[in-house]
């Protein structure tokens, strides 16, 4: 049986030709992406389909490669900061923190207590926006159009609050070496308290409309099994690891900032399926609310300015050496590794994106399932393509 059309005649690019080499002759090779509505940007997945069943899958990425790591080697330490807001538009403050943390570790900069608390508040609020964005987009992938609008209604309130200190609404560049760029004002604190109260009332609605819906549960339960073995093999972190029953959360296991002061739970699910990851994120939103509440209570008592005195200027030189700092982002472990040769420009900046490891699980997890389920699994990994390609 010969494949029609013959791959040798059709051509295609390097990836499709290689992928077609190992394909069975009676199967269909489908390019899901890079301009597919449910791949959230420009992810491309090569699929070998038998009917609608997936035999093999291979993610192809790099369509959104912006050379952030190389840009780090051409800009001064402080000038690289805006890039950190653009690596991951979903949870930019975690990247802000990871880079600032690495440089602070390298140069031994003390962060005032007040700045640490501010960092926790804004970081957690950013996690809420990240999870709300994921929630809306995921349900949109599954075919329901309305929830994303409700999610954005809440998200809009958060962005209105976050723009007060950060002056941005999406790509934040708010943290500085030794603190944050602007202090929180009274209106922000009041507004955040009001938002938490409002959000607590909205969460049951989300549960009624989506989480409890029988169609959704049948869609996402027992598909895309990523168990602890796979998690450790691929290095998946964040909700993907916690959805496999692995209580690995950097906020608890390697506390950074002042996270050790707060009382919150690390939600885990043992089902390993898409529903498990979904529930982990829904639970995380509630826990984030708890952290923000506690942090707001600690804010008046926290001492020090929002930015340490004598914080390095953007063009300042950093001592030679190397440092690695990791924080818990919305998608998992966000790590930044910096090497300095003592000049005002980093020698090397390495970014560890959690989405890359999480996406690597996809090829194995989606084998033998339906095309529609593959979309549901892809969404449950919470992929932000710019972060994967960097």
């Amino acid at each position: 049986m010969t494949r029609y059309p013959d791959p040798k005649q059709v051509g295609g690019d390097f990836y499709s030709r290689n992928f077609a080499k190992n394909a069975r002759p009676d199967t269909l090779i489908l390019n899901l992406g890079p301009q597919h509505p449910s791949t959230h940007g420009v992810l491309r997945v090569l699929l070998e389909l038998d009917g609608e069943y997936i035999l093999r899958a291979e993610p192809v990425f790099g369509y959104l490669h912006r050379m952030h790591e190389k840009m780090g080697e051409t800009k001064a330490w402080g000038q690289f900061m805006p890039n950190m807001g653009r690596v991951d538009y979903g949870h930019p403050l975690s990247w802000n923190w990871a880079y600032c943390g690495a440089v602070e570790k390298l140069a031994g900069i003390e962060v005032p207590e007040r700045a640490e608390v501010i960092r926790v508040i804004t970081h957690e609020m950013n996690r809420l926006t990240s999870h709300l964005l994921w929630w809306g987009a995921y349900i949109l992938d599954l075919g329901a159009f309305t929830p994303i609008m409700y999610a954005f209604d809440d998200r809009e309130h958060l962005l209105d609050l976050l723009q007060r200190p950060t002056a941005s609404r999406l790509t934040y560049s708010y943290f500085r070496f030794g603190g944050v760029s602007k202090d929180l004002d009274e209106k922000f604190v009041e507004g955040t308290k009001a938002f938490i109260a409002r959000f607590r009332q909205r969460l049951p609605m989300y549960k009624d409309l989506v989480t409890d819906n029988i169609i959704l549960r049948k869609r996402v339960e027992d598909i895309g099994i990523i168990d602890q073995d796979m998690v450790t093999r691929y290095g998946a972190t964040g909700p993907v690891a916690r959805g496999a029953g692995l209580a690995y959360d950097l906020r608890v296991s390697e506390p950074f900032g002042v996270y050790d002061r707060f009382d919150f739970k690390v939600p885990t699910q043992t089902t390993c399926c898409s529903m498990g990851r979904y529930l982990v994120r829904m639970e995380e939103m509630e826990q984030s609310c708890r952290i923000i509440e506690q942090a707001l209570e600690q804010l008046p008592g926290a001492e020090g300015p929002h930015l340490v005195k004598g914080a390095p200027k953007p063009q300042a030189k950093m001592p030679a050496g190397e440092a690695y700092f990791a924080v818990e982002g919305g998608r998992g472990k966000v790590g930044v590794y910096v090497v300095s040769d003592g000049s005002k420009i980093p020698y090397r900046v390495k970014l560890r994106a959690p989405g890359f490891s999480n996406l690597s699980c996809f090829a194995e997890a989606c084998q033998g399932m339906l095309l529609a389920d593959a979309v549901a699994v892809l969404g449950s990994l919470d992929l932000i393509i710019p972060e994967i390609d960097r």
Partner: protein, 197 residues
């Protein structure tokens, strides 16, 4: 026993569909939340805290001139290179002055050359390059830069995002002057316009 449980579960599952309908039905009845842009504007509070493109802060006494001293800190620190500042040159001496200077030199006196004023002659800003990180604002020693609240800034070509911030400052000053006519000072405006040219 499990059969009863199954039936109970099925009924619960079916009920979840009606719960979903109730939620959307409830919101169908409630008023819309969207801001109808040309007819409505966003909340005052949101507009005031919005971080739009960078703008110059006028001197407290002279709304036509920026606080800027032309130190170029913003230009050197800008990660995206979106600012272009040209320092003001020393005013060219008039022929009489030149004559006087030459005479003074001939007499062997110390010539006092006019110094360049500490202000920018040109302050160009390319919004299409700016990443709105706020580095220029934080590093300005005199606080001459700030985020504008220009939330409705749109354009149809790249050219429209290349802003002359000095002109913008003057336009703003004129607008506020128009709003409060008694505060306007025409002579001053003419003077600034001359120095601008």
């Amino acid at each position: 026993m499990s059969a009863v449980k199954d039936i109970f579960q099925s009924v619960k599952d079916l009920w979840s569909l009606f719960v979903g309908l109730r939620v959307t039905g409830k919101y169908f009845m409630q008023p819309t939340l969207t801001v109808h842009y040309p007819r409505e504007t966003v909340d005052e509070d949101v507009e005031q805290t919005y971080g739009g493109h960078v703008e110059l802060v006028p001197k407290p006494k002279n709304p036509l001139k920026p606080k800027c001293i032309g130190c170029m800190m913003c230009v050197t620190n800008c990660p995206s290179g979106c600012l272009t500042v040209v320092k003001a040159k020393a005013p060219k001496p008039t022929p009489e002055e030149e004559q006087a200077m030459k005479e003074a030199e001939a007499r062997g006196e110390k010539v006092k050359k006019p110094k360049a004023p500490k202000e920018p002659a040109k302050f160009m800003y390319d919004y299409s390059l700016c990443s709105l990180c706020g580095t220029c604002i934080e590093n300005c020693p005199v606080g001459s830069l700030r985020y504008s609240n220009n939330i409705y800034f749109v354009g149809t070509s790249r050219k429209e995002f290349k802003l002359d911030l000095l002109q913008r400052l003057q336009r703003q000053a004129e607008n506020t002057a128009k709003a409060a006519p008694e505060a306007s000072e025409p002579e001053q405006a003419a003077e600034t316009a001359k120095s601008e040219a």
